[in-house]
């Protein structure tokens, strides 16, 4: 079942009224980032910033508008893996996890 995209602020952060490009929020035990609408290389930079700040066991869900093939070598260099998740039409969704 596809999860609804609901923007909720991270603890301690200012409330978010709607999803905007670059928004980061916490939902269903994962950190979400929406990079749709951002121009290159912002999506790559924003996602990797989140990866670098991630804690052990964190799962990052990326909401993208295209397959970020240039992201994958960067994830491999950092020891992260990814799986594609079901998403509504027009969205490409990835789940990122640090590999053991």
């Amino acid at each position: 079942m596809m999860s609804a995209t609901v923007c909720q602020p991270l603890p301690g952060a200012a409330p978010l009224s709607a999803c905007r490009p670059g928004d980061v929020w916490h939902e269903a035990g994962a950190v979400h980032i929406d990079v749709r609408g951002l121009l290159p290389p912002e999506p790559l930079v924003r996602i990797l910033e989140l990866v670098e700040q991630a804690q052990a066991g964190d799962v990052i869900i990326v909401h993208h508008d295209r397959e970020p093939r240039l992201l994958f070598p960067e994830l491999v260099e950092r020891g992260w893996g990814w799986t594609q998740e079901p998403a509504p039409s027009g969205e490409f969704r990835l789940a990122l996890r640090r590999e053991a």
Partner: protein
């Protein structure tokens, strides 16, 4: 893990790897040929100020065979990223290579051996290849509002390309039929448009994506980039008028405005690098930063050139600083990062993960290339200034050594990526 080929609603904007890599591979090989041609040129290098022969052939191997060739491959790979639209036709991108490569080889061969028929055929083929590239780029760029900084630079580059090809063909046919009142002025205008117009604007535009991508930095400031571009375009117009009209002060003003524009571009790059995530930039940024220095140097020299204030071979100094010091240095600085990066992206088999970029890229040949190439450029500049022919030849040896080292690097990347791809394909059960 889902295969990248089973994306839901996502369109793959990366071309098949054979398209950009054929351009990059040809550029690497022609780079070796260019330095070799300089080394064995029968006419003096330090005394060259134009005219057919090996030195002019080598110059066109650098500009067409290395710079334009790489620009075409990089353009086909990068523009879809910038415009979020794929290249309309993979077949036509391959056709542009099929026209351009033999065109360059024939044209430069004809130049070297002063065979006008061969030059005409080669020049026409190369122009057709560039025309196809321009048409595909135009088609990709139109109706897009994405990446305004890249778009504006590419539009400027396309306009400069059109004029460059036109002036180049006029100069070429003039060699055969002799109808131009001032062949030297036409050749000078062609050179300025090619180097600072087509190649320069393309490099500047692509830098606004490439440098942030390589350094993992924020996008550059649009205001600075637009101001830089405006100055560059004004400078080019003045350079065109000053060269064709023979006005030294107009030429000097053009170079001054160009220097101001280049200064803004370098400042824009400096500011975006301050925002970078990748704290250790690695070896690639040594040639990239050096190239920016040579860009400023070439324009500073160009201010003095119209008044004969430069020592030794003034035009040669400007050309070496601009073509070899700035453009070729920058290009190979970028290539040494994007070649293994793109190879890694494409080496992932179905459902597989890409190999480590660092595992594909051998460091030793890169270090040798960087040292040998920078030494070659500096030595050639000194040789031009002091009219030391032996130093110019020594510089060519160093340049050739660097080019061969880079060819070893590129070949190793290709070989390792191919091995990874084969291993990944074998591992997937059918």
């Amino acid at each position: 893990m889902f295969s990248p080929d089973l994306a839901f609603g996502a369109e793959d904007r990366l071309l098949p790897p054979s398209v950009p890599f054929r351009f990059f591979g040809a550029a690497v090989i022609l780079h070796v040929l260019a330095w070799f041609t300089l080394l064995v040129a029968p006419e003096p290098l330090t005394g060259f100020t134009g005219g057919g022969g090996a030195v002019l052939a080598a110059l066109h191997l650098f500009t067409l065979g290395v710079l334009a060739m790489t620009a075409m491959g990089a353009g086909y790979q990068l523009l879809p990223m910038a415009t979020i639209r794929p290249v309309r036709s993979v077949g036509w991108s391959r056709a542009s290579f099929a026209l351009f490569l033999p065109g360059v080889v024939l044209f430069t061969g004809g130049l070297e051996h002063r065979m006008s028929d061969v030059m005409l055929v080669g020049g026409t083929l190369a122009s057709l290849g560039l025309a196809v590239f321009a048409a595909l780029t135009f088609d990709n760029m139109r109706r897009t509002e994405q990446m305004p900084l890249v778009s504006r630079h590419v539009w400027g580059a396309l306009a400069a390309l059109l004029l460059t090809v036109l002036l180049g063909l006029l100069a070429l046919f003039d060699l055969e039929y002799g109808f131009l009142p001032d062949h030297q002025a036409m050749a000078g205008a062609h050179l300025a448009l090619a180097v600072f117009g087509f190649m320069g604007l393309l490099v500047a535009g692509f830098s606004t994506i490439l440098i942030p991508m390589l350094a993992l930095a924020r996008a550059p400031e649009i205001r600075l980039g637009t101001q830089s571009l405006a100055l560059a375009l004004l400078a080019l117009l003045l350079a065109l008028g000053g060269t064709l009209g023979g006005h030294a002060s107009v030429l000097a003003l053009a170079a001054l405005l160009g220097l101001a524009g280049a200064g803004l571009h370098v400042e824009m790059m400096r500011r975006l690098l301050k925002t970078r995530m990748r704290k250790v930039l690695g070896f690639a940024f040594l040639p990239i930063r050096s190239a920016w220095g040579f860009l400023l140097l070439s324009l500073a020299l160009a201010i003095l050139l119209p008044f004969d204030l430069l020592p030794g071979n003034g035009p040669g100094l400007v050309v070496v600083a601009a073509v070899l010091g700035w453009l070729v240095t920058f290009l190979f600085g970028v290539l040494q990062r994007i070649l293994p990066f793109l190879a890694s992206v494409h080496a992932a088999g179905p459902g597989g993960r890409p190999p480590l970029v660092s595992a594909l890229a051998p460091e030793a040949p890169l270090k040798l290339h960087a040292a040998a190439h920078l030494l070659a450029v500096l030595a050639l500049l000194l040789a031009m200034a002091l009219s030391l022919e032996w130093l110019a030849r020594a510089a060519a040896i160093s340049g050739l050594l660097g080019a061969l080292a880079f060819a070893v690097f590129a070949g190793t990347v290709w070989y390792r990526a191919r091995a990874c791809r084969r291993a990944a394909t074998i591992a997937v059960p059918r």
